[in-house]
């Protein structure tokens, strides 16, 4: 989450200009991250301590880690851990900012704290949700991509809470191959991961999802209601795709659509999961 969102956060706060952010995104792939930046990122050292070590390095020909241990700012174990995380891509953005002197380390430290407060609370329950989903659903047939599907459903539970203000629960995996459906909202994720996503729901549930997401009561299934459900799916998939990018997947979204349907035959490659809410149940279809 840190890399793309932190850069975007700095742009939105007016701390970086769009030209600066573009330069950073262009050059970060070639940059090696220094231990001082990693230490500030992890909170192992303060910016002031890092600057002190950098100043010492100018007069003494010693590595950062060795000096930090000598000053008792870090232990040897911490230095090893920092060296291991030097390869993590999300830190290169911070290193480029430091190299180009767009911000001081102290300013980066402050911005990181503010950013984490604003953005990262939502991720804390991610693993818990995934464990809960795994108890109810079996995506093992998806092989190495099973974890992505668990992530999708876990994220959906959190987004139902966040955007529809309802604590949903996963209650079963469905294996029937034919079903009468009223409405299908569908969107295709393309790119490094090809995934068809969809919600199947009755009219009353569609209207409730639309009303809750829009923030106003929608009483009939018209263009606004259909569009709003499509937008909820779009936003959820957008958040999912953004989280995928941390694992190196580059994806895009096609335009969602919402249609009234009759009898549908589902492919054996589809995974269908029933989600329960206080306003009714709907099914999630995932197909690779």
């Amino acid at each position: 989450m840190l890399n793309q969102y932190f850069g975007y956060y700095l742009l939105n706060k007016g701390i970086l200009t769009n030209l600066q952010l573009r330069e950073i995104l262009e050059t970060e792939q070639t940059v090696k991250v220094k231990l001082g930046v990693i230490a500030v990122n992890t909170g192992a050292m303060t910016a002031e301590q890092v600057e002190e070590i950098h100043n010492l390095q100018r007069t003494r020909d010693q590595k950062f880690g060795a000096l930090a241990v000598e000053k008792e700012y870090l232990t040897s174990t911490q230095v090893e851990q920092l060296l291991e995380s030097q390869q993590e891509g999300h830190l290169t953005l911070l290193q480029v900012i430091a190299n180009k002197k767009y911000m001081t380390l102290a300013a980066v430290e402050k911005a990181l704290m503010d950013f984490r407060e604003e953005y990262e609370t939502a991720n804390q329950t991610c693993d818990t949700d995934r464990l809960i989903v795994k108890q109810m659903v079996d995506f093992s047939a998806a092989g190495p991509k099973a974890d992505l599907l668990y992530k999708y459903i876990g994220l959906l539970k959190r987004n139902v809470l966040r955007f529809l203000n309802d604590a949903s629960f996963v209650f079963m995996q469905i294996t029937e191959h034919e079903k009468n459906v009223q409405w299908i909202a569908s969107q295709q994720i393309i790119g490094d991961l090809s995934l068809s996503t969809g919600f199947i729901m009755e009219e009353s549930v569609l209207l409730e999802i639309a009303s809750r997401f829009y923030g106003e009561s929608l009483m009939k299934v018209d263009e606004m209601a259909l569009d709003t459900v499509g937008e909820f799916l779009n936003v959820h998939n957008g958040i999912f795709c953004s989280s995928l990018s941390e694992s190196g997947f580059i994806t895009d979204l096609q335009t969602p659509f919402v249609l009234k349907k009759g009898k549908e035959s589902f492919q054996l490659t589809d995974y269908r999961v029933a989600i329960g809410t206080s306003f009714g149940d709907f099914e999630v279809i995932l197909s690779m």
Binding site: G7, R22, L25, G238
Partner: protein
Amino acid sequence: MARIMIVDDSMMMRAALRKILEKAGHEVVSEAVNGQQAIDNYPKYQPDLVTMDITMPGLSGIEALKCILDTAPQANIVAVSALGQKHIIFDALESGAKNYVLKPITEDKLLPVINLVLEQNGFIEAAPR
């Protein structure tokens, strides 16, 4: 305050953006439902700022953004997307977007960005710091 054009294929998004912008005192001078309409409407309405959805059927928001900037290089365009991925943000900025807002759109996400772009381009005075 500012004259703004909204570009988004989603009726819901256009309604939501209009509500936030008008509540803040801005005037929504035009709504475009696709990239081509945005290109056609820009010279007609000459808005102070454009909010441009990136993912639209037909001509994408990025392509529409480039076309508008070809003939109106001073245009202030804020990209809007559901995708917060680095390559999307980079493409939008490289194409000339002045800033970027991620969906879901809320008042406290949208208005600071709108005000920042307007301030940076001389449409409103900077607030005392």
